[in-house]
Amino acid sequence: MTAVTTTTPTVRPAKRRFSLGRATAWAVLGLVVLITLLPFYWILRTALSTNAGLNADPTSPLPVDLTGTGFQRALGLQSAEEAVAQGGAGGGLDFWRYLLNSVIVSTLITGCQIFFSAMAAYAFSRLRWRGRDKVFGLFLGGLMVPTIFTLLPNFVLIKQLHLVDTLLGIALPSLFMTPFAVFFLRQFFMNIPREVEEAALLDGAGKVKVFFRVVLPMASTPVITLGVLTYITSWNDYFWPLMVSYSDSSRVLTVALAVFRAQTPATGVDWSGLMAATLIAALPMLVLFACFARRIVSSIGFTGIK
């Protein structure tokens, strides 16, 4: 158990003198930042341009004919004729709806999965019962199976449950646990000093109360980190929703983007509308990340390395 999250600056350059090596290193880092961020600017610049403008002036660093029509098309605010006239497909996709679907699915998955995983982690770390280590071993074995292997059989199951093309069908397989979440939270619960828990028990609190009032609050940092990462993962998932969802009623943003892309009109791709839709899909995660950035960035070490 090594702590890896100390953010205190341990490396202090001895001399602030100019050196060729340091300058080169900074230049490389600058280039990395540039390659990382430029595509985001390019999404915005394209989304705010008209398709005609993009055709006429593909290299302009600023939006060409600054406009919001791309967003109007993505949000289904334009009539089909209008959309076609501006280089859209006129397919009437409504990204408000997909946004809502994505929020519902991701919130459902994150809330339930973290809560149930935390309960299991508590039982594995703090409760005494027969067969505990065997069951935990079984869970650990689950880490070996790549999620992708379970998708096909899970689809067959969801179909038998008549949940195809529903939001519940998309959420259900990830609703109860992931072996990783259980494993991760158990590790953390084990590090909570036993004395704290026993003191609460002496005060007459039951184990259920200890879980909600002592263990969960003390583990708030890892719980929140895990929660945000789970939210981002389920928001970005494409393969599973693609299998399960067929119509507007259960279409999430990732699938909708692919449909938008597939509806390419004869005049060429509606880049302005597509990039506007892309921005709508990406922005919530950027905002979410911005809220928790410091916490996530400093704790990424232990969430990734199992």
Binding site: M1, A3, T5, T6, P9, V28, L29, V32, T36, P39, L54, P58, T59, M119, A120, A123, F124, R128, G142, V145, I148, F149, L152, P153, V156, L157, L172, F176, M177, P179, F188, V196, E198, A199, L201, D203, K207, V210, V214, M218, I232, W235, N236, Y238, F239, T254, L257, A258, V269, L274, M275, T278, A282, F289, I300, G301, F302, G304, I305, K306
Partner: protein
């Protein structure tokens, strides 16, 4: 493996342990232990166990079973023994898919690991800025679909800014995603763009565990940064690097999303990676049995790679002692 909190447990809402009679506490705790919490544990474990059995263990077994059947989703699965596996071994598209996938993994993991290592070391030795680490992580917040579409636009042969720059320099435009030789490297690099920051932060976390005294001592001895990298950083980072490598390789083999939105397996099967072929077999041609057999094959390959990589990189051992 590594566990830490950035803030120490701060709230003790039900009073602290200080001052309580140690003897009576341990006696009470011990009697509690002998009783066990069986009933409560059953309640706490029930939802997760249900999810584990129904959506992880059962599908795993079912996936293996289905690989021995002919199954089109509408009529009940029909046992056919090893037919699907025989067919797979004789299927040229399966082998080309596997080849394409391996090519993708090599480019993707090769470039990504070197770049992530470079970024991690720069972040450690040059600056400890949390802002920079946050920036590096941003592409990871996008879905593969978003990353694929953005680069599809940037690399568009006619209007993409990437190709505009290339032609401005005087080189012929490159149809990155429409050309048989360019498509796989391009997709591999798009996914490097999305994942390199996350990988770099994992390695960065590993670097933080290396005692700074070692660098200070080496500096006193007059070692250059380059020498310190090879003599200190690499040997001590190896266990973390090994685990990260295993994780990323397994993830890399499952490439699907980016292919689906940029090339759809084309041109001429040039990007028909294994997972895409499996998806097409199941949902395009309704051959769930055959698709399952290929999934099992992928599972076997991934398990073998994990074991092999673990042995080769001696992931279990660390030089930190």
């Amino acid at each position: 493996m590594t566990i830490a909190s950035s803030s120490p447990p701060s709230r003790l809402p039900l009073g602290s342990a200080q001052g309580a009679g140690t003897k009576s506490r341990t006696r009470r705790a011990r009697s509690r232990e002998s009783q066990g919490d069986g009933r409560l544990a059953a309640v706490f474990i029930a939802p997760a166990l249900l999810g584990f059995l129904v959506f992880l263990l059962w599908p795993t077994l079912r996936g293996i079973y289905l690989s021995f059947t002919r199954f089109n989703l509408l009529t009940p699965a029909e046992w056919v023994g090893f037919d699907n596996y025989v067919r797979m071994v004789n299927d040229p598209i399966f082998w080309s898919s596997l080849t394409v996938t391996v090519e993708y993994v090599f480019i993707n993991i090769g470039v990504q690991t070197v770049a992530a290592l470079a970024i991690a070391v720069l972040l450690q030795r040059l600056t400890q800025s949390a802002l920079l680490r946050g920036i590096v992580l941003t592409p990871y917040l996008m879905s593969n679909v978003v990353a694929g579409l953005v680069w599809l636009w940037i690399l568009d042969t006619q209007l993409g800014i990437g190709n505009e720059i290339i032609s401005a320099v005087g080189v012929d435009r490159i149809p990155f995603l429409a050309d048989e030789t360019w498509a796989i490297p391009t997709i591999a690099l798009i996914n490097v763009w999305r994942h390199v920051g996350y990988t770099a932060l994992l390695l960065f976390a590993g670097l933080q565990a290396i005692p700074n005294d070692m660098y200070e001592a080496a500096k006193v001895d007059g070692a250059s940064e380059w020498r310190m990298f090879w003599r200190i950083t690499m040997p001590l980072l190896r266990p973390v690097l090994a685990v990260v490598l295993i994780m990323t390789v397994i993830g890399s083999f499952q490439v699907f999303d980016t292919v689906a939105v940029t090339t759809a397996g084309g041109p001429a099967n040039a990007t028909n990676v294994l997972q895409y072929y499996i998806y097409g077999s199941a949902f395009g041609r309704f051959q769930f049995g055959y698709a399952s057999a290929m999934s099992v094959a992928l599972l076997v390959v991934l398990s073998a790679i994990t074991v092999l990589q673990y042995r080769l990189t001696r992931a279990g051992r660390t030089d930190l002692g």
